[in-house]
Symmetry: C2
Subunit: 246 residues, 2 copies
């Protein structure tokens, strides 16, 4: 995806690669000012997970993927950080499921949107994919949100029944839940408003989640039912344990 | 310090003000590329503290200040983030204790050093202070460190017996401890190498610590002895509790 010199056997390789991707994206004007700080917050929570997919997160990942497979109109959302960190994986997942992507950013400016679409098109070309990507010319609005952040696409977010929103803002997550959608969130902070409000929350690092989803069979085998609060409690206990074990 | 429009009664005022200071500093070339990510990690741990000074941190703060007051050659260190976040408070504290500051950054470039010294001088002028600030022309080296990050000043870091290093890198903290110094660390992550290795660790947000130190009598009244591991354990339990209470 980008030139990156670090040795893959370095214990911090994955984390350094993600930082490198953000730096490239920042240089290209793809990110909001708060992007790096948000990523740092995520890093702290990931550190508490031990930078690994814990059992509760893997279970939530299976249920989220199953829900996308069973959907009538699934859609996967990209914001600046998601595009920077895992554009290839999001494109591959959309291609695999056969659904569109939609770029939907909180701080929308024409420059950022253009930078994001240029980057996504480069990656489509490099991967030889032709996934539909909505968002450049929004023709709908998410009810309950104000200003440019409500902008969305009728054939994308608006008509979707199941929507994957990684690293999503709490207000928008709530608005999507209020629309009656099945909202799938990826968020390293199990206490965030998005994590609490979502239908299914995967408490795990974005690129690990997408790698897991790309390796699962479609639809994935489900072992047990998903209980939102119990799953979050399990993640909270794991993180509390990081302090207790220290 | 900088123009900042937010309302002080806003519940996130302090946090937004710190972000604003970092943005200004980034524009002025004072920060390393990793500065925002490091700040985000700190924000996550501060969130677990409830964005407040917990009792163990206040106790550690008193002991750290006492140690600076009792020192023969105390010195306070500034790196990029510390200068951005709390330059005024560091200058005031050095003035109050009557000790020098030293700028000591991990990724040293002439441009960054100049940006930092220009900013610090502006703040000295604004505050009407004349604190000695070492670091521009280092004439000594910290044993055990390689490259520019070992650079330091003989009359500053090198001869100091007690040294305050807020937001310090683990390698440099270890090197200072190995020199036999009393090393005082401010770090929101009680599990970090710096937090573990220091003589006294204050698990609290930088500007809160400095505000507390500026309000204490000199020397501060000490209630009970400081036990490093017990103090860290108390901070770890508090943070674990954030997850358990969620």
């Amino acid at each position: 995806m980008v030139e990156f010199a670090a040795d893959p056997s370095h214990p911090r390789y994955a984390s350094l690669l993600m930082r490198h991707r953000l730096e490239i994206a920042a240089q290209r004007g793809m990110l909001a000012e708060s992007a790096m700080i948000a990523h740092g917050r995520g890093e702290a929570f990931d550190y508490l997970l031990g930078e690994q997919t814990i059992p509760a997160a893997l279970e939530a990942t299976k249920h989220a993927l199953k829900s996308l497979c069973d959907a009538k109109h699934p859609v996967l959302c990209l914001n600046g950080n998601v595009t920077a960190l895992a554009c290839d994986e999001m494109l591959k997942l959309a291609d695999r499921i056969g659904c569109p992507l939609e770029v939907n950013i909180f701080y929308r400016t024409p420059e950022r949107m253009e930078a994001l679409f240029t980057f996504i098109q480069e990656r489509q070309n490099a991967l030889g994919l032709n996934v539909t990507v909505f968002g450049e010319h929004p023709n709908g609005r998410i009810p309950g949100l104000k200003g440019p952040r409500a902008a969305c696409h009728e054939e994308g977010i608006l008509r979707s029944d199941v929507i994957l929103v990684p690293l999503e803002d709490g207000d928008r997550c709530q608005a999507l839940v209020d629309m009656g959608k099945t909202v799938l969130v990826i968020d390293l902070n199990p206490m965030s408003r998005s994590a609490q409000q979502a239908t299914i929350t995967i408490v795990d690092e974005l690129s690990r989640v997408l790698t897991n989803m790309l390796e699962m069979s479609l639809p994935p085998a489900i072992d047990e039912p998903y209980h939102h609060q119990a799953n979050l409690q399990s993640c909270l206990s794991w993180m509390a344990g990081a302090f207790e074990r220290a």
